[in-house]
């Protein structure tokens, strides 16, 4: 793409052609926005350990307060009552949702929140188009500066894609829409064509600022957001949520360029890179390329290859009593939770089981795969909710070596993340994905609803049929409750 018009715009229309209100120019205001940007950086820095994280969150709140207060003070506050009401309505809704939401529903909540940021970006972009004077983006001829038009167009486009994409992600995560990949014929051509048209229109917008251009950009971006996320299956949702997180940041950054606001630019860059890094971590943990996730259709392909190799193999069924007996006698037990644990809300009773085992002198550890659950870190939050101390919870690379000494590996609601096919079977769709070496443990208990269901990748799991494996077929919560009861006898 040709960006030369950007530099041309800068030289033709200097920024100071239309000065902002007097207060904007005094040094203190940019300084305050800078401080709020720095506080946001410190908010993320705090998350490097649970101990400092709470202070970090407070820095974030202070930063936001400074940004909002600064904006209100430096702009004519004639409409303060309306603004106060708007903040009270939005804030009230947000606060109530945050209080009531269940931790298992966190992925869809985050997706819903992303959609709001996206829509807000679209509204702000359109407002800047409707009243460019207020944003100080008019040039000498009374037209919107071409450079600002690019920023505005891109901001609206990214915002709209974030909005509609997050709506689809929300519906899929909340189970209100099939998690299966929905594949339209010729979707790659349609999607690419639409994206190029949007970019072309943003370019055209610099020449012609008539309303139809901005309206078409907005409409097409809403459509492409839907189209991009619909073909992506449920298993890839952690990547999608991270990616939309990133988009919401870039949308904020684009608006920051329009407003020349450092707080927005810094935040946009932070959030944008944060989401991008999380997407990268998720892709790596599944050994998939980002492009193949975006192209979609993962669930669909796997179902075909899984269907061919359907054969009956012998497996052993265990009981709650077996599990209780063997774990009580064990020295080291490693628990591997997955999304199934979240679905049946088994985290609390699981922690109870851990407590009873610890009281019997058993060394209990939890092993969490990066893609366990429906968003990055989801399992950690659920275990924390159930009061599992975070220093008993380990990441993949930190616990991998412990399986050889483990007497029991207790897999609950996880499947693909313990599938040895990822290490050995080159034809498997999950080949190359890092998995837990549960097969090195002396005994494996596999809590699963039934033998019929397979993991989200749709592939069979050799662990089911190993000599040291006992299948505990039941709802995860019920099974763990029974084990706790058996342990207390």
């Amino acid at each position: 793409m040709d960006f030369s018009f950007l530099s041309a715009a800068v030289s033709v229309a200097p920024r100071n052609a239309f000065p902002m209100p007097a207060a904007e120019n005094s040094g203190i205001v940019p300084l305050l926005y800078l401080i709020s940007g720095v506080l946001f950086i410190m908010a993320l820095r705090g998350l490097s350990s649970p101990g400092t994280s709470r202070a970090g969150n407070r820095y974030g709140m202070i930063g936001m307060t400074i940004a909002v207060a600064t904006t209100l003070v430096t702009h004519s506050i004639a409409s303060l009552p309306e603004i106060a009401v708007a903040i009270a309505i939005g804030g009230g809704i947000g606060f109530i949702i945050a209080r009531r939401i269940q931790m298992t529903a966190m992925p869809q909540l985050v997706a819903a929140f992303h959609s709001l940021v996206g829509l807000a970006a679209v509204l702000v972009g359109l407002a800047a188009y409707a009243n460019p004077e207020a944003f100080g983006i008019l040039d000498a001829q009374g037209l919107i500066e071409p450079q600002s038009r690019v920023e505005m167009g891109l901001g609206i486009a990214i915002g709209a894609i974030t909005f509609s994409g997050s709506i689809i992600a929300f519906l899929k995560l909340a189970g209100k829409m099939s998690g299966a990949a929905i594949l339209l014929p010729g979707r790659h051509v349609i999607n690419l064509g639409t994206l190029l048209t949007i970019l072309g229109l943003v370019g055209w917008f610099t020449q012609d600022q008539s309303p139809w251009v901005i309206a078409t950009i907005t409409a097409l971006s809403f459509v492409i957001g839907f189209l991009l996320i619909i073909p992506i299956g449920g298993a890839d949702m952690p990547v999608v949520v991270s990616m939309l997180n990133s988009y919401s940041g870039w949308a904020a950054a684009a608006m920051g360029f329009t407003l020349h606001n450092t707080a927005m630019i810094i935040t946009g860059a932070l959030v944008g890179s944060s989401g991008a890094i999380l997407s990268y971590i998720m892709c790596k943990a599944m050994n998939r390329s980002f492009l193949s996730v975006i192209a979609g259709g993962f669930g669909a392909e796997a179902a075909v290859s899984g269907g061919a190799a359907k054969e009956q193999r012998p497996w052993k069924r265990g009981s709650a009593e077996d599990a209780a007996f063997l774990m009580k006698e064990a020295e080291n037990v490693i628990i591997i939770p997955g999304y199934g644990m979240a679905v049946s809300q088994a985290q609390h009773v699981l922690r109870e089981m851990g407590d009873v085992l610890k009281a019997n002198g058993v060394n209990v550890k939890y092993a969490i795969h990066p893609v366990a659950g429906r968003m990055p870190g989801h399992m950690n939050v659920l275990l924390a909710e159930a009061n599992v101390p975070y220093d008993e919870v380990f990441e993949l690379e930190d616990i991998q070596g412990d399986f050889a000494q483990a007497d029991v590996a207790f897999v609950i609601g996880a499947n693909d993340v313990v599938n040895p096919a990822a290490k050995t079977d080159k034809s498997s769709p999950i080949y190359g994905m890092p998995v837990f070496d549960v097969d090195k443990a002396k005994t494996i208990f596999f809590v699963k609803r039934s033998m019929g269901g397979v993991g989200y990748s749709g592939v069979d799991n050799d662990v089911f049929y190993m000599d040291q494996t006992m299948m505990l077929l039941a709802d995860a919560k019920k099974m763990v409750e029974e084990i706790v009861k058996a342990l207390q006898h």
Partner: protein, 94 residues
């Protein structure tokens, strides 16, 4: 500020973001997403500018709408992050 200064801030902030986010412990990735969500609602600054300015009733309505949406996110995002972070506890010393 001219375009190149703004761009410089943006590029440098991307690098800061890169290093800061890699230092976040994986156990806190969900709170990370919730808090980034809250802070990206700093877009409320643009919404406030539009709501406060006289001149275009349309811009005002759009701005106020954006203020409501961003506020949901700011209050909801920070509150839910705080709720999550409060749950992370260390092993009790015996």
């Amino acid at each position: 500020m001219d375009f190149i200064s703004i761009l410089s801030i943006f590029v440098l902030a991307c690098f800061v973001g890169y290093y800061v986010v890699w230092s976040v412990t994986p156990a806190l990735h969900t709170p990370l997403m919730a808090v980034t969500n809250a802070i990206s609602s700093v877009i409320i600054v643009g919404a406030l500018v539009a709501s406060a300015a006289a001149g275009s009733p349309l811009a005002k309505v759009l701005g106020l709408g954006a203020v409501v949406l961003a506020s949901v996110n700011i209050f909801g995002g920070f509150a839910v992050t705080q709720r999550m972070l409060a749950m992370y506890k260390k092993k009790e010393k015996k």
